[in-house]
């Protein structure tokens, strides 16, 4: 076993961290005849722009809708005459815009690029992932509109009816197929830990999504079996899929940023194994009206989920140990570092909610949504922001137009997450304690929650601002890229007699710093 070579997760372990332009470093290191990482990055350019550009748009749409939904706690009468904008439709639309609009396509884009990098194989046949990315965003649009007109399936996190779920399913299949083809063509047979996580995630979503849609929507099973399958699905998407992609990405980027190999290969293998072993069984709430073995088994697995949580945080800590200070100078490192912190924190909340002493208090309260928001936004979206800020300029070959906004985005997001999650979690516990006391009138439990909900509106506002900064940067980058294409096209048209020079300019070899 060549453990030491493999323990570096990144394709290259540059000691200088991200301050050295990776493309330059590697093209000098790459043996003659090999494909340089810069070429691999560029091969992903258009698919990544299609996936991530749409994702950035949905992120903004989702946070606007989430903010609108949250305002209803200040004034229940707000927008009450419009059936489309009632709370019960706005809230799922905001959640789905974040999950299906942003998290999944961002995760797929990052996974595509990571697999190409780790496999040292360029993406070929880019037209298929480009079509798939557009099909995905079309499916999300149809699905969100369907919820707004009242055509939801009624299952949490699976609200899209067929018009939305079928396109995104096939779009996912195409993207995953391309990613797996890159993986299959890898140059090194041995696997990096990131590759286990990413390939497992690619493979798991079609399984859970088709199961949920077939058993709940196409040929619905009877009675509470529906609820069990819907909980299983939601948990496997929100905890397992995001965990696999987010941790897989972090296990690539953390060694790259710190210049230290992943600590260590076997610990990562243990963490991966226990993660998929325990996390896949979480999600059935204690006290659910189902045969008692299901919540019991699920609670046991959730408590055991503490093991992979501990292992993964240990790996993260040991990998970044001693490099924490360099984190603050490196935008992507800030995002991914905080993402890992929030992964552990949201995991601890999940474990707490399964403990028999705590679960009667936290069940049916805002503590659950606080955990979900922390996981989706604090962990997954933050990790994806970091990855995208790192990889998109390299893939497109153009710098972000407002690199200073990256740091602003980080701090605004951090503030937003704190203001969103902390009040909801504390308020949720208070709400639960009041719900447990039958002498407290129910109206008082809701009233006691309102101040916390109103603070969380501030958090959502900050998140919207942060998301707008992200969107502006991605949009600016896309516009710059289109402008560059246009210029090249004009140059090409103007100089038909010198095709050599025009063709050369189609591949701008502009170096990109971190």
């Amino acid at each position: 076993m060549s453990t030491n070579e493999k323990s570096g997760s990144g394709g290259l372990s540059s000691p200088g961290g991200a301050s050295v332009p990776a493309s330059r470093l590697v093209s000098s290191l790459a043996p003659p005849g090999e494909i340089s990482p810069a070429d691999i990055d560029r091969s992903c350019c258009v698919p990544l722009l299609a996936l991530l550009g749409g994702a950035a748009l949905w992120l903004v749409v989702g946070s606007v809708l989430g903010l609108l939904a949250s305002i209803k706690f200040h004034a229940p009468d707000f927008l009450a005459n419009c059936a489309w904008l009632t709370y019960g439709r706005l809230q799922p639309v905001a959640d789905d815009a974040l999950l299906y609009g942003f998290c999944l396509p961002a995760g797929l884009g990052v996974a595509l690029w990571l697999l190409a990098r780790l496999s040292q194989t360029p993406l070929r046949g880019a037209v298929v992932p480009i079509i798939a990315a557009n099909l995905w965003h079309l499916g999300v649009f149809v699905g969100l509109m369907a919820i707004l007109i009242g055509d939801t399936t009624g299952f949490a996190w699976l609200e899209f009816p067929r018009g939305g779920s079928v396109p995104i399913f096939f779009a996912y299949l195409l993207l995953a197929l391309w990613a797996v083809m890159i993986f299959a063509g890898r140059r090194e047979r041995g696997l990096y830990p990131s590759q286990w996580f990413l390939v497992a995630a690619l493979f798991w979503f079609p399984w859970i999504y088709s199961t949920a849609n077939l058993f709940l929507v196409a040929w619905p099973v009877r009675g509470v079996t529906q609820a069990v399958i819907s909980w299983w699905f939601a948990n496997n998407l929100l905890v397992v899929w995001t965990g696999l992609v987010g941790v897989g990405a972090a296990f690539y980027f953390l060694p790259k940023f710190t210049g230290r190999p992943l600590q260590s290969y076997y610990l990562a293998l243990f963490g991966f194994g226990t993660f998929i072993l325990f996390a896949t069984w979480c999600g059935i709430p204690p006290g659910a009206p189902v045969p008692v073995w299901m919540p019991t088994l699920s609670a046991t697995a959730t408590v055991l989920f503490f093991v992979p949580l501990l292992v993964i945080s240990l790996i993260g800590l040991r990998t970044v140990w001693g490099s924490v200070r360099s984190r603050w100078d490196n935008g992507p490192f800030c995002f991914i570092g905080s993402g890992m912190d929030f992964f552990c924190l949201s995991g601890l909340m999940l474990v707490a909610m399964a403990c028999p002493k705590i679960s009667p208090v936290t069940q049916f309260t805002w503590f659950g949504p606080a955990e979900t928001q922390l996981r989706l936004y604090g962990f997954f979206a933050m990790t994806m922001f970091g990855a995208i800020y790192y990889l998109l300029p390299r893939a497109v070959g153009i710098e972000f137009p407002f690199p200073k906004l990256v740091r602003v985005h980080y701090w605004v997001s951090l503030l937003g997450i704190t203001l969103l999650v902390v009040p909801l979690a504390i308020g949720g516990v208070l709400q639960g304690l009041k719900l447990q006391d039958p002498n407290v009138a129910f109206a008082d439990t809701t009233k006691a929650m309102l101040p916390f909900l109103r603070v969380s509106t501030l958090g959502l506002t900050a998140l919207l601002l942060g998301n707008l900064l992200f969107f502006v940067n991605v949009l600016g980058l896309t516009l710059r890229w289109k402008l560059a294409l246009l210029k090249q096209f004009i140059a090409f048209v103007k100089s038909p007699l010198e095709p050599g020079s025009a063709c050369a300019s189609l591949r701008p070899d502009k170096e990109v710093g971190a």
Binding site: P76, I229, F364
Partner: protein, 267 residues
């Protein structure tokens, strides 16, 4: 390298294991769900909801009511109440005996001992089983929700967050259709400080014609439309109200036992 294949195979088995556990096994165990007998009765439970109430479930789904309401009563345990059914020949002694004792919320042994005492004093007593827990004490149901309650629902709307109260037994709590409709149209008119948004789009306001419509909502004083107008529920509002009225958690089952009130339990 062999280890790549091994990792893949192990992952496949592990992920598939969770599928077998929480998809296949529940389908096999519950998929052929049947009606069960009501405790101490030959009647079967549940019966399908009336057609209008089933339509109402779709209105409930479409408007995302489950974003704020659960339909699962929780129960922390059971307790015994001792109920005097006859004073016997020496009522004064029995009355004196029980006036000094706690009769509610006992465990089985204490309740048995108490019944023995009352019998010894010449009275007659029965033990009644009651469910306990905060939800039960709030009057949200007589027992915890069980799988049977949802046998005919599609989609099953258990909910996960209590921004509003639990609705599993709302048909027993508020059996008045007009109350339900008024609450949907203007929640704050019947529940002070309600955080529920009004569902005015499920109603239409119109001028009163030659005679007031029999379907028009009857509002509490100080609420309701301006004079000369009336509020009529649309078909969807009526279906939703019918669904809410069909929600009950008050049938004793083998899984979730409790004793019926005295009058009902006598043959």
């Amino acid at each position: 390298m062999k280890n790549g294949f091994l990792v893949f195979l192990a992952s496949f088995v592990v992920l598939g294991g969770s599928w077998c556990g929480f998809v296949l096994a529940p389908v096999l165990q519950l998929g052929g769900g049947k009606q069960t007998a009501i405790l101490n009765s030959s009647d079967l439970y549940p019966v399908n909801r009336p057609g209008q109430a089933n339509q109402g479930l779709q209105v409930y789904r479409a408007n995302g009511c489950a974003a704020c309401h659960t339909e699962q009563v929780q129960q922390s345990g059971v307790a015994c109440d001792v109920v005097l059914t006859g004073a016997g020949k020496n009522p004064v002694a029995v009355t004196n005996l029980i006036s000094s004792l706690k009769l509610n919320g006992l465990d089985k042994d204490l309740a048995d001992a108490l019944v023995d005492k009352i019998t010894a004093a010449g009275g007659k007593a029965e033990i009644h089983i009651v469910a306990t827990g905060p939800d039960i004490a709030r009057g949200w149901g007589r027992r915890h929700s069980v799988a049977e309650d949802f046998l005919y629902d599609d989609p099953v709307q258990l909910g996960s967050l209590r921004i509003g109260p639990d609705l599993a037994d709302v048909g027993t709590r508020q059996p008045d259709a007009n109350w339900q409709l008024v609450h949907l149209y203007a929640p704050q008119s019947v529940v002070n400080d309600s955080a529920m948004p009004p569902f005015r789009y499920l109603f239409k306001v119109q001028k009163i014609g030659s005679a007031p419509s029999p379907d028009a909502l009857v509002f509490p004083k100080g609420f309701g439309p301006p004079a000369g107008y009336e509020v009529l529920p649309t078909a969807r509002a009526q279906e939703l109200a019918a669904y809410l009225l069909s929600l009950h958690a008050e049938v004793p089952l083998h899984d979730a036992p409790f004793s019926q009130p005295l009058a009902a339990s006598k043959p």
